[in-house]
Symmetry: C2
Subunit: 321 residues, 2 copies
């Protein structure tokens, strides 16, 4: 089969022919039709990820066929028995195990789910990792309720967009931040009520004014200096979840604001099997359509990774296989 | 009646004779036998509290008689309907309403509970505010489970000591930090497995070594620079709750550690009626004995406030009335 193989540190992945994978017991071969990129893939090619092993086929997201069955893959492997936290041998598909940037991938049979009928293979491939992460942050952690006001920071990335779409589908009033006015405009087209540019001074005050009140739920992946504004604009009883920290350590967090408002702050990643089923149910029930930024052929995977690295995308970057 | 009256900004409270209070409908007069101090009382005398009104009788904690009935008072007034967060008109007994540093206090009848039979009036008066705060942080927020490992920071204060005693009673393995070796030794006598001095460099590494592993629950009231060590020494799935921030803003919190370990960080205060009942049940079931630092007569209330301000106490400072 053909695959994008990362052969050594600080090299770009190479499109080449490799042996077809062989399934063990309780495993299945998926004939991939589409895969999607995540920041994780970029970080691994840049050696910015712990315990990288070579050679490896990257890619956590994929959709395709098992025989005649149209499927997508849950990339959360070996979560374990505790719903609150992943087990020690937990891993994510696509390093250390070979991933979806290939014509075939082998996964445990338990990771296979029916592709939502209203989605193309490209759209279905866009869903698993980012959709799962968004679902767990928004519902399992923050317990979003109908009619609450939600802030999604850094809209444009895959998880942020799914979090926005899921919250809109549930009937929440959703606002966004972005460093790009164009991305805010696109978010409004998709159902956001409004947004502000986080590069502006005192963006949080402008946002409060625009929203006409505080936020019940905040979903973030940046951390850094801006994070300390979230408790200030939360309503009493508010919940903040984050699944990334691209802006570095959180600074200047005022404890009095947090305890007096009874706020909760949750770290969150990916999700367990129940989260995955919940996410698929939500997508099927509300016929949610993943936002695709751009589709590349598999052999142009390096160009796709470059686009993600530049942060220009709005939605998921997909590889057609 | 006699009472300690705070008459104006930056004055010490004065022990003087004032009119007996008159109950309205659904209110009751408690003939106080004992009251207990909290940091809140000190902060108010130092004008370090929002919206102070004068003249006022301070004091949130009290136990005494309603007729023949031996009672203690829940000082959380008007929590409201949402168990997650206090309502807008929530207040704490002892400013703006007159409190327990007096021979009599008027409170809503709903705030009165039977004094635990195994406690003296002085011990019962020590319980309400601090016990309630400890209970909510440990159980309602952190959902402490039997057999988990718990860290209580800054042991010696009322809430920290109750949190320690409650966790020990539940069968948790409890460690403490303090700036005083003597307080650590006293905590060990009360059931803590060990502790470290938070003034030491890298205290969190020494604590991990001493405990033989990480922590499932951390209860803090300091915040500040030291807080960033808590996620580092938490086990996956760990919960951190804080009800104070005496060391100022939280700095340098690493988001990756928090999300990868699926940690939760909760701000917490006082508690609702259900928390109060749960706290009393726990104290009755396990016959928990509040730790009394020192008992002063009511007329020496200013000396009692001075002792609390100096931070020398281990346990609650009580006024006998």
């Amino acid at each position: 089969m053909h695959a994008l193989v990362l052969e050594a540190k600080d090299q770009a992945p190479i499109h080449k022919s490799v042996a077809d994978p062989t399934p063990a017991e309780n495993e299945v071969v998926v004939q991939l039709k589409a895969a999607a990129l995540n920041h994780r893939d970029v970080y691994i090619t840049q050696s910015l990820y712990p315990k990288i092993s070579y050679p490896v086929i990257l890619g956590s997201d994929g959709a395709g066929l098992v025989g005649d069955r149209e499927v997508l893959i849950n990339p959360s492997l070996s979560w374990g028995d505790n719903p609150n936290v992943q087990a020690e041998d937990y891993s994510i598909l696509g390093m250390p195990s070979n991933g979806t940037f290939a014509e075939q991938v082998v996964v445990p049979t338990s990771q296979i789910y029916d592709k939502p009928g209203h989605l193309s293979f490209a759209e279905a491939a866009a869903l698993p990792l980012a959709g799962l992460t968004a679902y767990r942050a928004l519902f399992t952690k923050c317990q979003l309720q109908v009619g609450e006001r939600v802030l999604i920071s850094g809209v444009g990335g895959g998880v942020a967009l799914f979090a926005m779409q899921f919250a809109v589908a549930l009937g929440a009033e959703v606002f966004v931040t972005s460093g790009s006015e164009a991305k805010i405009e696109k978010a409004i087209v998709l159902g956001a009520k409004g947004g502000v540019n986080y590069k502006a001074e005192q963006w949080h005050k402008a946002l409060l004014a625009k929203a006409g009140g505080g936020f019940d739920v905040v979903i973030d992946s940046a951390g850094g200096a801006g994070f300390a504004n979230f408790p200030k604009i939360c309503n009493p009883g508010g919940r903040i979840a984050f699944y990334g920290g691209t802006r570095g350590n959180i600074q200047n967090l005022n404890p009095q604001i947090i305890f007096w408002k009874q706020l909760s702050i949750f770290g969150s990643t990916m999700g367990n099997d129940e989260d995955f089923r919940g996410m698929l149910d939500l997508v099927n029930t509300h016929r949610i359509q993943p936002v695709i930024d751009q589709v590349f052929p598999l052999r142009e995977g390096v160009a796709a990774l470059d686009r993600m690295d530049q942060g220009l995308q709005f939605g998921k970057i997909v590889l057609e296989i």
